[in-house]
């Protein structure tokens, strides 16, 4: 039977400051930022924890959705009037008048942007995800958890360091159904 080479540890802290100190200490012990993840019940900025900036695609996806929405608006406002079997001439307005076109394009652009922003959260966060995951429910009670992926041989060293930094508990993380 072979032993796994890496292990996931889950350290729980009662407050932000010791968690930030612990992250610094972990880095000093050679744990790379990519091997850490912070789980919290409130949004904690990367700067507070001294963590690298998180990448998000949500604004780009939103922009893409806005462009799609605008295209749909252009289609409805400019092209669909030509699809009528009997073209509708409204009063003395030109066949494709400007102001109503602006309204249609605005609404569809916003709809495209907001729908894709919503979908962007799903795509970037891999929602919905109902597989077993490493988590402690105390997080939603205000605790800060650090999930660390480290070589098995470093487990004791890292556990001791985290305990020293004020962790309430440090234990191997087990994936569980939430």
């Amino acid at each position: 039977m072979t032993e796994s080479k890496v292990i996931d540890l889950l350290a729980v802290f009662s407050d932000l400051a010791p968690a930030a100190d612990a992250i610094e200490q972990l880095r000093a012990l050679g744990v790379h930022d990519d091997c850490m993840n912070v789980i919290s019940g409130v949004p904690v900025t990367e700067a507070m924890l001294g963590r690298p900036r998180q990448w998000t695609n949500v604004p780009r996806i939103a922009m893409g959705g806005a462009i799609l929405g605008l295209s749909a608006g252009i289609f409805l406002a400019y092209i669909s009037p030509f699809l009528y079997p009997y073209p509708i001439q409204v009063s003395t307005q030109s066949f494709v008048p400007g102001p109503p076109t602006a309204v249609v394009m605005f609404e569809l652009t916003m709809l495209g942007m907001l729908l894709s922003t919503f979908l962007g959260v799903f795509l970037d966060s891999f929602f919905p995800n109902y597989r077993p995951m490493k988590y402690v429910p105390e997080v939603s009670d205000g605790k800060i958890a650090i999930l660390i992926e480290c070589p098995h041989v470093d487990e004791k060293k890292i556990t001791d360091a985290l305990n020293k930094m004020g962790a309430e508990s440090v234990k191997p993380a087990e994936a569980q159904h939430l």
Partner: protein, 477 residues
């Protein structure tokens, strides 16, 4: 020595007063706040709750759905709409409910953009109003539509009939704007709900856990999840505000784009928006007063300071509404058009002139008389009463703009007073459905966004400037 002690005592009492007054300065452990919100939601409903719930359910079934069935079977003749009043209470209610829905976006998005901290505990309560209000608005439009089973003819899609909706028509813009707003506000309600549903998932069992588990989507609160959520909420807060403005502007164009006396007005867009905010804020304060008065622990989350803050907004909005009303009235009156003069006279001195005066009383006189006083403004029931009065007044305003105004037109031989029929019980049914949905939501959804409250509490502290203790807020984002 005694002077020093006196100062110290006074400072301590001032600090205690500030903590008691401001939720953001009176933090409880997060676990305790979670417990309070869960208890308020999962508390066993009393017989009074079931009595009200059952009564409302009966009203919804009989007044809304049964009568709607009657309307469909017998036709629009059951309603009082007839030449020249083809637009009756169904459209009054549509405009009214869209107006109510504006409070959610105003409180949640615009106050979020401006970082108004008092918004934190009641953003969700307001967002729910938006979604449930839009459901009633949608129902009201469908009632007005008559042949509701062919509603999909409004949708632009390639079809065998080779028909496309006429996108030059303000009514089609309505479809686009209301659909955009309904979808956006529902998504905007759901996004900040995810962390709270995850909290509820961690604390519940049985069928509730299964529901929350599905709704929480697997949210844990990792750095990435928060980053994506925050980015999305920022985009929503900025983007949904112009959508909100566009919706009621477009609703106003349904009227203003026509060349009827009383309707053809360039100021109708902003006038309608301010009116929507007026009724929306009024409804929000009623909901808050009821939540605070009837749900467990809500007096911790919703305090006098919140009613005071909303009361100030209501006062300012009331002033803005008065300004727009007078501006619209002045221009129409000064224009001297014969039919418009006739209509304005009919508003004030016609058989429903009392409604015109009641509108001015409840929208201007009453709010100004009560909301100027900070002590009265912090009283939930008093501000709630003003909120109800404003909503009655704003409903009157829409009634005056729609069926009363179409009575007087340029063809006197068609003049006829509008007498509503089946619209009245159906309108009451929409009110009952709105309250019913809210009551159900209060038992299923955490009404307080606990994480937002905790975030606000982390950012607030008391700071000493010389001998004075003041509230200080840090910008955490």
């Amino acid at each position: 020595m005694s002077d020093n002690k006196h100062h110290a005592d006074a400072a301590q009492s001032h600090e205690e007063h500030l903590r008691e007054k401001h939720l953001m300065l009176d933090p409880l452990p997060r676990g305790r706040m979670n417990e309070m919100v869960m208890e308020s939601m999962m508390e066993k409903p009393t017989w009074k709750f079931w009595l009200v719930f059952g009564f409302l359910a009966f009203v919804v079934v009989y007044f809304l759905f049964y009568q709607w069935g009657v309307l469909i079977v017998k036709g629009q003749g059951e309603a009082g709409v007839m030449r020249p009043d083809y637009w009756g209470i169904f459209l009054v209610n549509t405009v009214f409910w869209i107006g109510i829905s504006h409070a959610g976006t105003f409180i949640s998005a615009i106050l979020r953009v401006f970082k108004a901290e008092f918004r934190r505990p009641f953003t969700r309560a307001a967002e729910l109003m938006t979604t449930f209000g839009l459901v009633q608005a949608g129902f009201s439009i469908f009632m007005h539509m008559g042949r509701v089973w062919v509603f999909y003819w409004l949708l632009p899609y390639p079809n065998q009939r080779m028909l496309w909706p006429n996108l030059h028509s303000p009514l089609t813009w309505d479809l686009l704007a209301i659909t955009t707003y309904l979808l956006s506000s529902t998504m905007y309600l759901f996004l900040p709900l995810i962390p709270d549903v995850a909290m509820a998932r961690d604390r519940s069992t049985g069928w509730r856990k299964n529901i929350y588990k599905v709704l929480a989507l697997g949210f844990r609160g990792t750095e990435g999840e928060w980053t994506h959520l925050r980015a999305a909420m920022n985009i929503f807060a900025f983007a949904i505000s112009p959508v909100m403005f566009s919706v009621h502007t477009i609703v106003s164009w349904d009227f203003a784009a026509a060349t009827r006396p009383g309707w053809s007005s360039t100021i109708f867009g902003p006038y309608f928006i301010v009116g929507a905010l007026h009724s929306g804020m009024g409804a929000a304060v009623v909901v808050l007063a009821v939540i605070r008065g009837t749900m467990k622990h809500m007096d911790y989350f919703v305090r006098g300071e919140h009613f005071d803050a909303i009361g100030k907004l209501m006062l300012i909005i009331s002033m803005a509404w008065a300004y727009f009303f007078f501006n619209d009235y002045m221009v129409q009156w000064y224009g001297g058009d014969k039919w418009t003069q006739q209509l304005l006279h009919f508003h004030e001195a016609g058989p429903l002139g009392w409604m015109w005066f009641a509108m001015l009383f409840t929208n201007i006189v009453l709010p100004w008389a009560i909301l100027w006083n900070p002590k009265w403004r912090a009283n939930p029931w008093l501000v709630g009463f003003v909120g109800i009065a404003i909503n009655v007044g704003m409903w009157f305003e829409r009634y005056i703009i729609i069926p009363i105004s179409v009575t007087i037109n340029r063809m006197p031989f068609t003049w006829r007073m509008y007498t509503p029929g089946i619209e009245v019980p159906m309108g009451i049914g929409t009110v009952a459905l709105f309250i019913l949905l809210y009551m159900a939501a209060s038992k299923l959804i955490p009404l307080i966004p606990v994480w937002e409250v905790q975030e606000g509490q982390m950012a607030h502290e008391l700071k000493k400037f010389g001998r004075e203790t003041v509230v200080s807020v840090s910008e955490l984002e």
